[in-house]
């Protein structure tokens, strides 16, 4: 996914919301877009999604894009499950596969019991979960999250954190905007800031923790790589890898990323079997 010299303004002679933006996001990258309110972060995502056309420059997309809009409308006459099924079909999934994944994501967000409830009767937070699920379900190559965490409960935020990390680890390109500076800390591969002048510049990622001083708890995950194939280069939380005897490997990762790491190991390739998961004593 690549933007070259992209500019955007509304109307001839209007203010340039974005100007001279060059951005390349490769598969496996997890990129944060920061900036003050009204600086064009959402516009940037909408340009990448192809919802708006740039006034200048070019946007190249590798394929289908999944997008979570800033405000998802509950005004749709669908119920949650059939909305997800329909969006999955639009993404090109077969009906059975779309239905299966819809059920899976509703389950993962803990709203499987409300699958048949019309969107208009869901609470704002539940509706936001559906909005997030519609973007995660197709497994698109590019995932765009425009403040998708807003309105979600803590459990659902964690699910979305994991899902975003998983998508990047699985070879997707993820671009997100969020007000929480600690969002996906340690997993983002790059961060940019949209300036007042509409320019996009790299932002230094500081290791910001939301609460108090940094407390690093590490988790050891011992796995047996069944076929002896190499593990993927990019795993959630960038674990330290120690080879144990035979095909067994120990992955040491910060506790915050251990769930995402396990999920990636269990669902991805190569096939592994988990031997042990334990909290490591002492500091890393």
């Amino acid at each position: 996914m690549e933007l070259t010299g992209v500019g955007k303004r509304y109307g001839r002679g209007g203010r340039w919301v974005l100007r001279g933006v060059d951005l390349a996001v490769r598969p496996g990258e997890l990129v944060r877009i920061a900036g003050a309110n009204g600086t064009g972060k959402s516009t940037l995502l909408r340009l990448v999604a192809g919802i708006e056309r740039p006034s200048a420059g070019r946007v190249v997309r590798p394929g289908a894009v999944a997008y979570v809009p800033e405000r998802f409308p509950p005004a749709l006459p669908f119920d949650a499950a059939s909305y997800l099924l329909r969006v999955g079909r639009v993404h090109g999934l077969a009906a059975a596969e779309a239905r299966r994944r819809a059920g899976e994501w509703l389950d993962r967000f803990g709203i499987a019991d409300r699958a048949g409830t019309p969107l208009s009767r869901l609470s704002k937070g539940t509706c936001q979960k559906v909005a997030v699920a519609q973007a995660l379900l197709p497994g698109a190559r590019v995932l765009l999250l425009d403040e998708a965490w807003t309105g979600l409960d803590p459990a659902a935020r964690t699910v979305l954190d994991e899902a975003a990390a998983e998508r990047a680890a699985g070879g997707g390109a993820v671009l997100f905007v969020d007000h929480d500076p600690a969002r996906l800390a340690g997993l983002t591969t790059a961060a940019y800031r949209v300036g007042e002048d509409g320019g996009l510049r790299p932002a230094e990622e500081r290791a910001v923790r939301a609460d108090g001083p940094p407390v690093e708890v590490d988790v050891d995950v011992d796995v047996d790589v069944v076929d002896g194939d190499p593990l993927p280069a990019r795993l959630p939380g960038a674990p330290d890898v120690t080879v144990l005897e035979g095909t067994a490997v120990r992955l040491t990762v910060a506790a915050a990323h251990s769930d995402a790491l396990l999920r990636r190991l269990l669902t991805g390739r190569p096939a592994v079997s988990v031997l042990a998961v334990r909290r490591r004593e002492g500091e890393r």
């Binding site: 909408r46 999604a49 192809g50 919802i51 708006e52 056309r53 289908a64 894009v65 999944a66 997008y67 979570v68 809009p69 800033e70 405000r71 998802f72 409308p73 005004a75 749709l76 006459p77 669908f78 059939s82 329909r86 969006v87 079909r89 639009v90 993404h91 090109g92 909005a131 519609q134 973007a135 197709p138 698109a140 765009l144």
Partner: protein
Amino acid sequence: MRQVGALTRYHLELLLRGHGWLPPFLAYALLLVLGVTAGDPLLGGLGYGAGVLLPVSAWSVRSALNAEPPASRACLVAAAGPARVQLGGLLAALTVGLVLAVAEVAGLWWVSGPVANPKADQPPVGVSLLAGLLASAVSVLLGVLVGALCNRPVLARAQYGIPSALALSTAVLVAPGSPANAAVSGLVAAARSGRVGPPWPELLAAAGLLAAVAAGSAALAGRRPE
């Protein structure tokens, strides 16, 4: 193509669940009840029914294209591109129009009396029904064309949508050389003379015109932002 099919289904379901199909349907039913009396000649009724179906189809396009809130539309555009989303909306409206056409022909067949005027020769019912169905299809195709021209993205200013659709529908129905005019007046003339011929050339012309306008509006959907 598969994505356009899925988008058509999406828009159809949106129309059905959101009751967007209901106002055009009720208006059409009302106009048919007002304009056709039980026992009237079939061909005359079919001519009237086909003519009125044109603005009704334009209305169903308006319903289909405006049924979706901008944010969920944005999700579809990201997934499939603006051109396919636009085509999906138009195809959904076309489907609604064609279903109305079939229902109209069946309903008129049921309530009408003789096929043509009592003093004229009576043509066979089958050919007359086919002619009526094809004329209605011509009207639906051109009605969808009018709807495509009088809504986003072709007509950017929403407040002119309804008056311009009404004016353009009337123009398409009365303009000499228009396939809708030829098909409808063919039915009315057949009711008087008793000589009926299915309007195949008009159907082909209408389909070609709609294909061109639909492709144009889909291309435009990619150029104009929401």
